[in-house]
Amino acid sequence: MTAKTYNYKRVYVWSLVVRFFHWTTAFSTTILIITGFIIADPPAISQNVEATNSYWFGYVRAIHFITAFILVAAVIFRFYWSFVGNRFASWKNFIPFTKKGISNIWHVLKIDILLMPDKEHKLSNISIGHNYLAAFSYLIMTLLFVLQFSTGFALMSPTSDFWFTDMFSWVLPLFGGDIPVRYIHHISTWMFIIFVVVHVYLVLYHDYVEGRGEVSSMISGYKFVRSERFNKSKIKNREVLSDE
């Protein structure tokens, strides 16, 4: 491989809505995991006080519930946005069962996970928005969100009068009562933790190896794309991104 300088251009990939969704999800998931573990196994921090004067555990639960509602609102809005947002936010990115999607997944597996040398170095192999494997992992996370919402709100439904939580009351008999539902809720929390570790690592990996501003893209919205990738547009002085 010959050393060569490439021209990179700034491309606006993640719209404000997508970035806002990302950080809402990141923060609320973090809060939910922390409060969730406190609820599962509370530390015995207060002793020798009257119950009348203390409510800290009640507040932890309240934070958990409120954050859950924020997160579900964010996920519902993101679902809507996948139909009206730009092409990097579209639902089509998350379903890789096309020829292009599957070949992209193979490429990502070979180059990024198995670390094989990239011999041909085709431009089209490098995704501008999500690569298909990453997007597919977000689809699985979305399904996990649905599982987590439905088990969580189902556990909340007997003591709630809100129609939204009551919508999930059928989940309790489906799994055979509160005990298994609570258990599923607990186990899938661990899957979120594992996801966060892998997700953050791979973002750092891509930033390090490719140098296209992967980390900052979720803050600024811009990624850097090689200039070969652009079509010369008929409109003067403007360049349009080619459709691979």
């Binding site: 005990i179 258990y183 186990i187």
Partner: protein, 373 residues
Amino acid sequence: MRKTVKKEDTYYENIIKKGYSRRDFMKFATVMTAFMGYESSVVSQVVKALETKKRIPVIWEHFQECTGCTESFIRSDHPLVSDLILDTISLDYTDTLMAASGHNAEAAKQESMKENYGKYILIVEGAIPTKNEGYCTIAGRSAIEVLKESAAGAAAILAFGSCSSWGGVQAAHPNPTGSVPVDEIIKNKPIIRVPGCPPISEVMTGVVVHYATFGRLPDLDSMGRPKQFYGKRVHDSCYRRPNFDAGLFAETYDSEEAKKGYCLYKAGCRGPVTYNACGSMEWNNGVSFPIKSGYPCIGCSENNFWDNGPFTERLTNVPGMGIEATADKIGKIVLGATAVGVAGHAILTNLAKKKELKAAHKMAIKNKKRIKE
């Protein structure tokens, strides 16, 4: 035992005949209304119904059980409650409590079932074995056969206790007799689950009186339990709940905190996942219930409660992963493995992509030099 009772009599007539006063009857109606969860204005409706409506016959079948439900039932809170149902009014057949035995008892049952076809309530205590019909035979007939016969003419079936509701201890892993709850055998009848090991006796009386008063079965929740009694978790009516919200927990049984009555959540209490009326109705004339006596709820009215891990631990074991494999232990191991994998990948990246990274670095250094100051 029912020779003194003419089947045309109303509940009220039977009570008066038995020697109770009108005042006792009014007390009973008021207690039942309260148990059923209605406001005091409904008392007159209950009184009117018991005065005018014909008694509803009850047939009680026993299968794979320990008779604990019957024991609980005869220790009913209000003496009139058990008296009314047991001696005077409704119970036409129950092999544990009835005076008759053998052929006479069977004949009484057959007679009652024939006379009241489509009208009687069938109470089932105990699970039904399916692997071998010989596991539970009564008067030489298998449990399935007896159940199917009694259920055929029943207006409704009351699955009394955790065994007939969910399967109970004999359906716990590995379920050697292939025990199943009533609803897996009988599909075409309304089945009311009254789970508990044992359940609170007033619940059953409450269901019978509800049926007599309103002519229909009480509202059931999504798991087939009467909402009046199983609408809330034990946790929601527990007198120790303020300690839970305040974060005051007892870690061990004989600790200072346990003596102070702190919440038993960390001792594995199943109150937060168990639907029952223990916290509000309590047991043995309202004397106590497990949590009040200092022991955590074991969730005896929940489905499959025997197999849901150690009673005294919050987190149940992961099935099929060994005795000590809780979700948190497995989670920590997987997290550790992921961290090792990620670190390994990071190291391998630097080795495998050495050329690319070096070339990029070289180019970048070159570019730096080219910058005009």
